[in-house]
Symmetry: C2
Subunit: 751 residues, 2 copies
């Protein structure tokens, strides 16, 4: 491995070949600009949302100023005192810098200066953080990632008080603090800095932003293009402690590479919305800084306006309460109220042409940035320009060129029912083995859940606030998701090396008819020799109380398998169409691939051609009806086996288990109906409107099913399994009745 000195020499030599940066005059210039400050000062007192934010931040910062500066010797993991204190410090410094510019009150500049010098004094001799768990240890924090967070915020604070400082003070800070800090998280940690990963985006932005403030073009180039790959000398196949590859297999790195690889052209970030939210902050603040300091780069036009599309994609990836779908590793409850989204929404409004729907989100956030973007949003809201952010059905491709599967969301404008269907690529190290899985929401309530991650972020008692072992042994496993599992083995055998080489394929997506919205995708690689094909429809008819989900999961296999199709429902079981037996003692269903964490709580056998069970959640009734075979086992499970420290929630599941089948088909409806109020004690429409599901035909070419309602004629859903062309004509005879349609599917409602 090359020494830091050698790396530095090479970087400097490379930088010469890149056009010199346009000279910039004056500070601040990153996020807050001189023009912005002028505008803010002129507007103060007239834009309520901005004024309220200033008042709140001022109160917080004044309290910190009064409490005095504390830069403790680093020693804790997340959740511990030193970690949380340093985290708080960088946020407060950034806010104090903004207040200095806005209010022109020297006390805030002094506070930032004093804290910077406290850090300068400490950093000169600071060793690596004593905690050793990270693959890239920081100095202030246990991982370089948090050090990068610090520098992203602190560069803004430095920019804000730049002119307040003497040239000598700046020189001291840059020589003893900023430059070595930037070098530590880049040159000294290429495994952190040169990845295609949200970690590196933070690293890149940190180095680039301090470079822009310092006017240090070498740092800016390092940020944009990464360290030269040939220099860091580390194995391209190396993996981090989340199990992901450290380096992009093409050897690309830096901020621009991170804008390319993990984002699809639709703005979907392959790690999923929780990490997209996390990454948006450095993406957008560094982009805004580049937009201000290096306008010639036209960074917001890069990849056809990618960053703005990403903000939109992120807002679409929320439930009715604004909470992100917890795809891959995602903490539930994280929402569009997060500070990263305040940044994203405000900046997107400022640089994206003033989309009034973003103002609707900003209104609910009830705070704005204390900068050029924030004042633009606050004045537009004041001027009554806000419109609601109306979510729609949407199909977001995955993969940098948009060909590696995707995520589809089917919903109605009122968000009464939202289906999230995932047929994406692996999602880097935070990906789950959950091909063709789905989750279902009734407004903001999870009806069929995606488990999310096993981590209590920043709660130190729970493994230092970091990922817990069950994140790998349960949350990532296929059986933890609402998708098909063969032979009690996860997709790709649960191996990242295999999973990250493959992705599912869209068969078709059609949201043209609000009453019958369909997404269909296949996966040929999760289990070699088995082609999985899942088609999910959101159907609204006059014969069912509310829209329902139709799920066709078809497998063509070259040998016999054992199949498990689970549905993780929230709520209380009301009744079942089959008798249930509970074992005398609860045992884990299996021993690996997540099955070791599932208790078998009750089971039964289908009575007749359908199995049905109903449950109550969030004061609404739901019924699942499924076409079953005589030998199927119907199993109620409970999460929590082999978990003596209670890292897992004790949530319920229902599972259809099919033995020794080769090609097979699962047909299921999930139907919300009626409502229950514990106040009026009225149970309205507590019974399903679906009397029976019937497979009329199932072959390599066609699958046709009838949905019989309790009232009215049946609906027939016909699917072409081998031709997804929108113009192909199909003709079938079923029971002497002719069926004909155009395109990959048809739903004939019978009346």
């Amino acid at each position: 491995m090359a020494s830091p000195k050698q790396v530095l020499a090479l970087i400097i030599s490379l930088a010469i070949t890149i056009p010199a940066m346009a000279a910039q005059d004056g500070h601040p210039k990153l996020i807050l600009t001189q023009d912005g400050v002028t505008k803010i000062r002129a507007t103060l007192g007239t834009a309520p949302l901005f004024d309220a934010t200033v008042a709140r931040v001022r109160q917080e910062v004044d309290a910190e100023v009064a409490a005095g500066i504390d830069t403790p010797t680093p020693k804790d993991y997340s959740g511990g005192y030193t970690h949380e204190r340093h985290k708080r410090n960088f946020v407060v410094m950034q806010q104090a810098g903004a207040l200095y510019q806005i209010l022109d009150d020297e006390k805030y500049a002094r506070y930032v200066r004093d804290m910077l010098f406290a850090y300068e004094a400490m950093y000169k001799t600071l060793p690596l953080h004593p905690k050793t768990r990270s693959y890239a240890r920081g100095k202030l924090f246990w991982q370089c990632l948090n050090d990068a967070n610090w520098l992203v915020y602190t560069s803004q604070a430095y920019d804000a008080i730049y002119n307040y400082l003497s040239a000598d003070e700046r020189h001291t800070l840059e020589r003893n603090l900023f430059r070595p800090f930037a070098d530590h998280i880049s040159i000294a940690n290429p495994r952190f800095f040169n990845r295609i990963h949200n970690h590196s985006t933070w690293g890149n932005a940190a180095v680039g932003m301090i470079g822009l403030v310092m006017g240090d073009d070498e740092l800016v180039q390092r940020a944009l293009y990464g360290l030269p790959a040939e220099l860091h000398g580390v194995d391209l196949g190396a993996k981090d402690n989340d199990g992901g590859f450290i380096f992009d297999q093409n050897g690309k790195a830096g901020f621009l590479a991170n804008m390319d690889a993990p984002f699809s052209p639709d703005g979907y970030y392959t790690e999923g919305p929780y990490y997209q939210r996390y990454a948006m902050y450095p993406f957008l603040v560094f982009a805004q800084a580049l937009h201000n300091v290096k306008p010639e780069m036209d960074i917001f036009q890069h990849r056809d306006g990618l960053l703005l599309k990403a903000v939109d994609a992120l807002l679409q990836l929320t439930d009715a309460d604004g909470e992100f779908f917890p795809l891959n590793d995602g903490q539930k409850g994280m929402s569009d109220q997060a500070r990263e989204l305040v940044t994203a929404v405000d900046i997107a409004f400022l640089v994206g042409g003033g989309d009034p729907r973003l103002l609707g989100v900003a209104e609910r956030q009830n705070q704005v940035l204390l900068d050029d973007a924030g004042i633009a949003v606050a004045t537009a809201i004041r001027d009554g320009e806000a419109q609601p952010y109306q979510k729609t059905s949407i199909n977001l491709s995955d993969g940098s060129d948009g060909t590696e599967g995707g995520v589809a969301i089917l919903r109605y404008a009122d968000e009464a029912l939202t289906l999230v269907y995932k047929y994406s690529a692996q999602g880097l190290s935070h990906g789950h083995y959950d091909k063709l899985s789905f989750s279902l929401y009734e407004r903001g309530h999870e009806v069929l859940q995606d488990y999310g991650l096993v981590r209590f972020v920043n709660i130190e008692q729970k493994g230092g606030g970091n990922y817990l072992p069950q994140n790998s042994t349960w949350a990532k496993q296929s059986i933890a998701h609402n998708t098909l599992v063969l032979n009690e083995t996860s997709h790709f055998q649960g191996k990242y090396e295999i999973g990250s080489r493959h992705h599912s394929e869209l068969y078709f997506y059609d949201d043209q008819n609000d009453d019958v919205q369909v997404v269909s995708a296949t996966d040929a690689n999760a289990y070699p020799g088995a082609l999985l094909h899942r088609t999910m429809a959101l159907i609204r008819t006059a014969h069912a109380d509310k829209p329902f989900v139709l799920d066709l999961f078809r497998v063509e296999a070259d040998q016999q398998h054992r199949y498990d199709l689970p549905f993780y429902f929230n709520g209380q079981v009301l009744d079942t169409s089959f008798a249930t037996r509970a074992p005398a003692e609860l045992s884990p269903i299996g021993s690996k691939h997540g099955y070791q964490h599932l208790y078998l709580e009750a089971s039964g056998e289908p009575q007749g051609e359908n199995a049905r069970f109903s449950w109550l959640t969030n004061r609404q009734f739901f019924t699942l009806t499924s076409v079953t075979k005589t030998d199927d086992q119907l199993v109620f499970s409970r999460i929590g086996a082999n978990d003596p420290q209670f890292n897992l929630r004790r949530d319920a599941g229902f599972m259809i288990r099919r033995q020794d089948a080769q090609d097979t088909l699962f047909v299921t409806t999930i139907e919300p109906h009626g409502s229950y109020s514990p106040v009026s004690e009225l149970a309205i429409d507590a019974r399903s409107n679906i009397a029976r599901l019937q497979v009329l035909q199932d072959s390599k070419d066609y699958t046709v099913v009838a949905v019989h309602f309790t009232h009215g004629p049946p609906g027939v859903f016909a699917l072409s399994n081998s031709n997804s062309s929108k113009t192909a004509q199909h003709q079938l005879r079923i029971d002497d009745k002719a069926l004909s349609w155009i395109g990959p599917f048809a739903f004939m409602s019978g009346d």
Copy 2:
């Protein structure tokens, strides 16, 4: 058993001895009066809450009028069509009657008349309801209770259109419908009508109200005083299908007896708030009718204004969201928004001197009665008289003379922490074996829960919407509550005959000092030979982040027992001060008295003198710390064993198990601290502020414990075990330190 005819003859002979009813002119006169109608018509369009209620009810009734009348042949249990239709009918008739009076629109009178005649046509030949589960079968419904509901509402409808009907029509209705209807639910069903029970209150009110409308004094007397006990000839020891005694052991019956026996002088209803809410409707509407038609009875002054005190007690028995504490059989979620509470609050405002705090509740209810009471509330709200209903700490006695224990609620004005402590009598057939149990709320969120009932009211799939077997085998058992269980056996061996003979005793209650509120009670009968003494305090000090609960549970026993002290916490375990082991398979902890429904999920042994565990619920941290003995077992349990039909929620419990102890003491703190936000991902004060609990002394006379905080000096709680006098002086020496105080307890905060 006497024939109905004989009974009738005797009743009539008895009625002569009672002063004749004052003659009443005109209709309506029950709930809506002629004066009220005049006032309402004059006020229409000026009192927004009344107008809004009229508009909403009008929309509902108009829809029913348009849909046409349906009086189907009775056949279903609760939740089934015929049950729900007849239930809807009586509500709509009552509303249509009110609309007729308010809007003077004949279409509503016609609708009521036509429906009454539809019932008249059917009732003449109607046999008993075909479902046989009830001890007192109705005709329109499976139980007389629901028939009584029908008549309470329908009398109001009849009163409203009385003058619209011809004398012939009235005669027909009274002869063929109302009179036989009233006889069926009284004379034909003495086991229903003559009880001290909410069922009978409905029956009494139904018969009395139709009697008042018809001007039939015999019915009114029957309602007020019941059927003569010597005539129904049924065993006083007979029990109903909830397991309760059918008849009052003193042979009293009727509305006035029901106002006496089950209510304490404080207005607490011995069955608990869920049934108090249910019973309040007939109590208050019949009382208001008596108040209007027989003002000389001064019914609202009866027992020192009992009914008004009962409304206040009921409102105090709610959490911060207005939901009733689910003491005894109580369905969670039932709240002060229920229609019975709209009635209670409006009537109490009208007849109780216009308490402006009731307007605060009415505002949140956002609807009023369409009668004299409703217009009074709506105009007062319009005139800005509403004040918030501020809840307080309160001690409510149980028993008709207030000497049979009680229920104490300790809380702060912000309702941030509410402790509900139950040391009451059995609570009739809906009582649970839960002496000295408690539950704890953080605002409207249950932190340590009372399980409530096992019933899905009106959800037909779940056992016809009726009580499920697990209500007896789990919910009523002692181990289902946060209280002490000896030898895996419920209090009173779980036998109603024994439990209903006993009650706990208040030792003292003191809410004078907001910072240290204490309730203490004993029970000598739950386990013969063992005196249970539990003292619970809500303590606020400068050394703990938030107020916490101190729980001292002391036992003096004449022999060794096995003790179990459970805490049913909601939320996710974060950490434990002891190592936990999970068994390979989950087994029920015991075989009877509720233990058969509890899985042992994990267990451990104390390490050191305290055991501690922390959990996270509702975005707040909680820590339980308890003084333990070396041989104690610490057990995490899960509800749900032996429940193949999922009638029970899979909720968590923690239990301290102590073996082979005679006299013993459990000292526990339950402490809320800090907060967690999944949006900011900030974990604030995730660690307990209580470092250690220490027993300084424990004897027959005194128990003294020290609470050591992580910062600051310890607090010392001293309790006199044998003298609850408020003026007694106590002196103790502990470790050479003198402790002296006056009264049954002291908390010395150490600084």
